[in-house]
Amino acid sequence: MERRDFIKIAGGTFLAGSACAYAFRFLTASNIDGLIVENLTTGRKYGMVIDLTKCIPGCTACVEACHNENNVIHSGDKRWDIHWLRKVTIENKLSPEVGKKEVLLLCNHCDKPPCAQVCPVQATYKRHDGIVIVDHHRCIGCRYCVIACPYNARMFNFKSEEEWHNKDHPKRSHGVAEACTLCAHRLDKDQPPACVEACRNVGTGAIVVGDLNDPRSEISKLVESRAVKRLKEDLGTDPKVHYIGL
């Protein structure tokens, strides 16, 4: 075959294939009227500020609210209990005069999430508004993300929750990984996340969730005006959960 012929045939085939692929999208999408997904870009970037100076020692209102809202397993059995939000006590052994401190730990919704980078089926991903969540329909339970997360925020479902705490929200079946979703289902409806609401109801208001890109939001002002720290900033994951008084 001549060189020119080969190039002609190859190019023609490529063009025809592209045209077919382009047409196929319309052919298959036309079944579902008016429901073709458009990529929404709201320009939002959700983040969280936790004011540890306000947080009441021993209070677990936010943890309970989170687990009830999202049907997270919390039967008290350590083998399969899952924590989307947990309170740990830390102590600096080198300077004991600082005393013990209670810190809330959860998924940091990293701007460069390692969990999403390692997921082989793109079940974990970053939404357009910066929330990192798992598509549990797609997760194959390989647990790569559990290992990749530097904050131990991911947990694996060894068992499905049996009780329905919140009947409007799904549970997860056994064999998928999960973590805090920043209550995406509530933020989409312009409601505050369950932990924020619970903390407000206790009268503390130590947790604030909002849009980091909006300079007028409460969270942006807090990040601007207070000394905030993030966990393991040196890793370059760019976490979006900020702590005051860590």
């Binding site: 079944n31 429901l35 997904v37 329909h137 409007d168 549970k171 079946s173 989409d188």
Partner: protein, 155 residues
């Protein structure tokens, strides 16, 4: 000793026979099974909601064929893009009181076991019976009423 041409001829003959057999087996199989299949399976009996719930989210004909595509599209929109609307998987339970009597009848008859409601909530039949008793709905529950679906089997 060996006549190469004769061997070749035989080989071609065997190949041709094999090809005919390979083509004929599936055709014959379908003819024979059709002969002995008996009458077609009856349409599964579906328990429909009360008459006051007239409209589904789309026309009945569309829903019958494409409900799974609709659900899948909505799922993609909600999970990936956070576009939550009124129409979601929790809406089915507002009218279709019995999952056993509606979804599962068809799914079981075609040996299909989607597990949507392993994770999403669908009320227990007793809960739905209670709800119907309160609202005075006369939907079919547990096969207590007549079938209202038009017969679409073509006969």
């Amino acid at each position: 000793m060996f006549d190469l041409n004769k061997i070749k001829e035989k080989a071609y003959l065997i190949a041709a026979l094999a090809a005919v057999v390979v083509i004929l087996i599936p055709i014959g199989y379908s003819i024979v099974t059709n002969l002995f299949a008996g009458p077609p399976q009856p349409r599964p009996f579906l328990e429909m909601p009360d008459e006051k719930y007239k409209e589904c989210v789309r026309e009945t004909e569309f829903m019958r064929q494409h409900h799974w595509e609709l659900l899948r599209t909505i799922r993609e929109e909600v999970v990936r893009y956070g576009k939550r609307t009124d129409i979601n998987i929790n809406k089915c339970r507002e009218c279709h009181v019995s999952r056993e009597g509606f979804c599962n009848r068809c799914h079981n008859s075609v040996n299909l076991y989607p597990d949507c409601f392993g994770c999403h909530y669908y009320p227990e039949p007793s809960e739905m019976a209670e709800k119907m008793r309160k609202s005075g709905d006369k939907a079919i529950l547990f096969g207590q009423s007549i079938e209202r679906l038009p017969d679409l089997s073509g006969e």
